[in-house]
Symmetry: C2
Subunit: 178 residues, 2 copies
DNA sequence: TTATAATGTAATTAC
DNA sequence: GTAATTACATTATT
C-alpha cells in the first residue's frame, strides 16, 4: 500500500495552444524553433514584459504561463552559469597573482642576499662577529654567502651583483671597478 | 482587459498540508517528516543502494521511483552549493594571498632602498656617477635616498637600517659602530 | 547524469 | 488588502 502518490500526476491536459495537430501528447519538450525564438528573445532582453510575453506566446503557440515559466527557468540557468564563470575568472586571477607573488618572493631573496653581502663588505668588524656566530648556528656551512670574501673591491664582480640592474636599470658600474 | 496573466494552472486548490485524508489532490510536496528522513539518510550516504531505496520507500510510504528522484535532485543541489562554496573559499585564498603579496612588495621596496644606499656608501666613485645621472632623471629630488650622506659610518644609524633585523634577526651591529 | 519543464510558495509590487 | 508577478526551491521527466 502506498496511498501517498498518484502516478498520473504529470498529464498536461492543457490546451497546448493553436498549432497542436498532434493528439495532445505530453508535450514536454519545446520544439527547436520555439526554443530558438525564446532564446533570441531572452538574449535581447532578459526581463519579460507582459506585452512581450503575450506576443511571444501568440507567436509560438504557447500559453503565456509557459512562456513565463521558460523565462524564469532560463534566468535560473543563467545565474548558475554566471557563478561558474565567476569562479573561472577568479581562478585565473589567483593563478596570475600567485605567479607574480612567487616572482617577487624570489626577487626578495636576491635582494636579501645583496643586502647581506653589501653589509658584509661594508663592515669588516661586523664580518668577524658574523663568522663567529655562523660557526655556532650554521656549522655545516650550507650558506655560501658566508665564505666568499673579506675584501671590499673584489666582490664587485661577484655573482651577487649579476642582477643588480633589475632594480636599478639606469645604474652604471664605474669602469674602474669592473 | 488584462491579457497578461493566465489564471489556469495557478489555481491549485488547497493542498491542505500533510494530513491528506482527501484522496483527490496531487500530493506534490513531501511532508516535513519525509524530507527530514530523506535528508538524514542522504547525509549518512549520498549514494542510494537499491536496498536502502526499498527500505526508505517502505518507511516513508513513497514509491521507490520518487525516492530515487529525490536523491538525484538532492545530489544536483549539492553540486551547485559546492560550486558556491568553492568560490567563497577561493575568494578568501585570493584575498589572503593579495595581502601577503602587498606586504612582500613593500618589503621589497625597503630592500631596494637598502641595496641602493649600501651601494652608495660602498662606492664613492659610483656615487658621483649616480648623482650626475640623478640630476638628469630626477631633478625634482623626490627620492630622499639620494640626499642623505656620502660618508660611510654616519649612515649606520640612519632610518634605512631600522628594519634590517627583519632579514637578519641574528645579526648584531658591532657596538663600535652604533 | 544532465538539462529542462513544471509546480509550490514566500516575498514583492501595484492597484 | 489583494491580485499579479517574480524569485527561488522543489519535484519530475527525458
Amino acid at each position: 500500500m502506498d496511498p501517498n502518490y498518484d502516478q498520473e500526476s504529470r498529464s498536461r491536459s492543457a490546451p497546448t495552444g493553436e498549432i497542436d495537430n498532434q493528439p495532445a501528447e505530453k508535450k514536454r519538450r519545446l520544439t527547436v524553433e520555439q526554443v530558438n525564438m525564446l532564446e533570441k528573445s531572452f538574449e535581447e532582453e532578459n526581463k519579460l514584459e507582459p506585452e512581450r510575453k503575450t506576443e511571444l506566446a501568440k507567436m509560438l503557440g504557447l500559453p503565456q504561463r509557459q512562456v513565463a515559466v521558460w523565462f524564469q527557468n532560463r534566468k535560473a540557468r543563467c545565474k548558475i552559469k554566471k557563478i561558474e564563470r565567476d569562479y573561472d575568472v577568479l581562478k585565473a586571477c589567483y593563478d596570475s597573482l600567485l605567479a607574480k607573488h612567487e616572482s617577487v618572493i624570489s626577487e626578495n631573496e636576491k635582494l636579501k642576499s645583496k643586502v647581506f653581502t653589501l653589509t658584509e663588505m661594508l663592515l669588516p668588524a661586523a664580518h668577524q662577529t658574523q663568522r663567529n656566530l655562523q660557526g655556532k648556528l650554521n656549522s655545516k656551512g650550507d650558506d655560501e654567502t658566508m665564505s666568499s670574501s673579506t675584501a671590499l673591491v673584489p666582490l664587485a664582480n661577484d655573482h651577487y651583483f649579476t642582477n643588480v640592474d633589475e632594480s636599478f636599470g639606469w645604474w652604471v658600474w664605474p669602469s674602474n671597478l669592473m
